[in-house]
């Protein structure tokens, strides 16, 4: 649904996005991770034709965005952090105005979407009277009105309270399950990405430093948690026997290729070292992300 090939963006002398390539397949929830200023919003801006790429190829729904923006965005909905509306107009009028930039929207469709997002009964109130949560729902409604196939969500949970964040996550999952949408989600919240996304890309200083599935972030290296009487002695012995490649944090060892935990346990017991616990250590997304960022520095 989205394809970026060797995309660059310069703001004056500053390189905001550098040689970025990524593919968002149909039907997936794709997470875009990175700290502030990593280039996430610029990348999203280029996908939506709001920011002109300095180089490379940006395609959305099969169409090149710079040259064919109207077709590329025909089936796209978007939500931004702290969504802005015409506060002096009603929620209904805002939906009418924003959706009409894609196509004329029948009243029944607007009513349907208002019900879907849970704003029924408040659609005629001025937006200035809406809470953060209601504004988020209105933002979702405007994104859903043109019947999109692709939703681009730029920090959708920003500014929401914990309940609002929970509701937003449930809604995103509903969107995928009930409407079969492809979703690109940019977020600071690693737990949100971990719970929602099938695949992620991590950006750092405008460059992609990782792209893969969440499972891949957990299995990039085979770390095993080893609880023994004397960890240092056990590591020395296992290295000598060429059963491990590396160790860290005083309790984790990286197994050598083709070596299973059974061999480790047998070796240590044969050497007279008691083994209290041995288990595969899965890295959380947060640990993985921090390690990537530290490595990039």
């Amino acid at each position: 649904m989205i394809s970026l090939k060797n995309v660059r963006k310069m703001f004056g002398q500053r390189l905001a996005v550098d040689d970025l390539s990524l593919e968002v397949p149909r039907g997936e929830i794709y997470g875009l991770l990175g700290h502030n200023g990593a280039g996430k919003s610029t990348a999203i801006g280029m996908m939506l034709g709001q920011v002109w790429a300095s180089g490379g190829d940006v395609r959305v729904c099969g169409y090149e965005v710079t040259g064919n923006r109207r077709r590329a965005l025909q089936n796209v909905g978007a939500i931004f952090e702290s969504p802005a509306f015409y506060d002096y107009l009603s929620g209904w009028r805002n939906l009418e105005i924003l959706s009409s930039y894609t196509a004329a929207t029948p009243r029944r469709r607007i009513q349907e979407v208002i019900e879907w997002v849970g704003l029924k009964g408040r659609e005629d109130s001025k937006v200035r009277t809406y809470s953060h949560g209601m504004r988020a729902r209105l933002a979702l409604a405007q994104a859903l009105l043109p019947n999109p196939q692709l939703l681009i969500l730029d920090e959708p949970s920003d500014g929401l309270d914990p309940q609002g964040i929970h509701e937003m996550r449930q809604t995103i999952l509903r969107l995928k399950k009930e409407l079969g949408l492809t979703i690109l989600l940019s977020s600071h919240y690693l737990s949100e990405v971990e719970q929602l996304c099938d695949r992620i890309a991590v950006l750092n200083q405008g460059k992609k430093v990782f792209e893969g599935t969440l499972a891949e972030t957990k299995q990039r290296e085979q770390w095993v948690r080893l609880n023994v009487g004397d960890f240092e002695a056990a590591v020395r012995d296992l290295r000598q026997a060429k059963l491990i490649q590396d160790q860290r944090d005083g309790s984790l060892v990286a197994l050598a290729e083709g070596i299973g935990t059974d061999k480790i346990v047998r070796r240590l017991v044969e050497q007279g070292m008691p083994v209290y616990e041995i288990a595969k250590a899965e890295e959380t997304l947060e640990q993985f992300y921090l390690r990537l960022m530290t490595g990039a520095k």
Binding site: T42, L48, Q50, R69, R70, V76, F80, F85, L89
Partner: protein, 280 residues
């Protein structure tokens, strides 16, 4: 059809916010204040004296139409550019500042069409502002003065016109078409600045500065030869409607220049907006 929807949206947005009506409100207050001043100060007596000095019965000509034009003179020079620039400066920059522009530009809308719709909405605002100004000026004046013949006296342009009420009302209506063009010019200028990456207040101030700079330049004796290159020279065409005979050649020249200036500023603004990156 799509463009008509864009235009409808822009009109909803423009006339839906209170800020748009500041100009209308200010005109109402200013007109009533000026009417009181005209009636209770030497202003009315001076006008009557000038008419009597030229051999006319002043009471015949100090009418609603005469006073309406007297009221319009300072408002057209001072208030109208201010409120036209205020709204023109908001057209794009306020939406960019509020973040709604980013919401619109996530839609498959052509940037040029969007700008055209905004500019036309600005033009419609200018016409509405001038129409209101004209109607309220003559309406309020009628509350205090009778419906009689009209006198327009403006020595700097050598205008001394005395006409019957019907002819006077026709001239009064026609002069508003040219005032609307003046307002459109200022809106277009502010709109152009508004299309660049700047705050709405900055766009308004730049547009007003441009107009004031032109006014100041016009006052410099050295610039007398170059008046035709300055906006105020062309802004005065509405007054020439009351000249006898009406200098049509001069009016057509100024109308062409103001229209070309408005279209050019729109195109410059639209081109700047087309090239711009819209970020949060």
């Amino acid at each position: 059809m799509m463009f008509y929807r864009h235009l409808k949206n822009e009109l909803w947005k423009l006339f839906g916010k209170k800020r748009t009506y500041i100009g209308f409100g200010a005109f109402l207050v200013a007109q009533n204040a000026m009417l009181l001043i005209f009636h209770f100060s030497r202003w009315q007596r001076n006008l009557e004296g000038m008419l009597a000095g030229n051999g006319y019965v002043a009471a015949e000509f100090v009418s609603a139409l005469t006073v309406a034009v007297v009221l319009l003179l300072p408002q057209v020079v001072l208030l109208m550019p201010l409120y036209a620039a205020l709204v023109g400066g908001d057209l794009v920059a306020k939406e960019a500042e509020d973040g709604t522009l980013r919401m619109i530009l996530s839609r498959p809308v052509s940037r040029f069409n969007l700008m055209l719709a905004k500019w036309i909405a600005g033009v419609i605002f200018s016409i509405a502002l001038v129409l209101t100004l004209g109607i309220t000026a003559v309406g309020f004046a009628r509350l205090w003065f009778p419906w009689r013949s009209m006198a327009v006296v403006w020595p700097p342009l050598e205008i001394f016109s005395l006409v019957d009420p019907q002819t006077g009302f026709g001239l009064y209506a026609c002069s508003h078409a040219f005032m609307a063009l003046n307002a459109c010019t200022v809106v277009s200028l502010a709109f152009m600045f508004s299309c660049f990456n700047m705050k709405p207040a900055a766009a308004t101030i730049l547009a007003l500065s441009f107009v004031i700079f032109n006014l100041v330049m016009e006052m410099i004796p050295f610039m007398e030869r170059f008046h035709e290159y300055l906006l105020p020279y062309h802004f005065r065409i509405w007054l020439y409607m009351y000249a006898s005979p009406v200098p049509w050649e001069r009016i057509v020249q100024s109308v062409s220049i103001l229209a070309a200036f408005s279209v050019t500023t729109f195109l410059v603004g639209a081109a700047a907006f087309q090239a711009r990156d819209i970020k949060s």
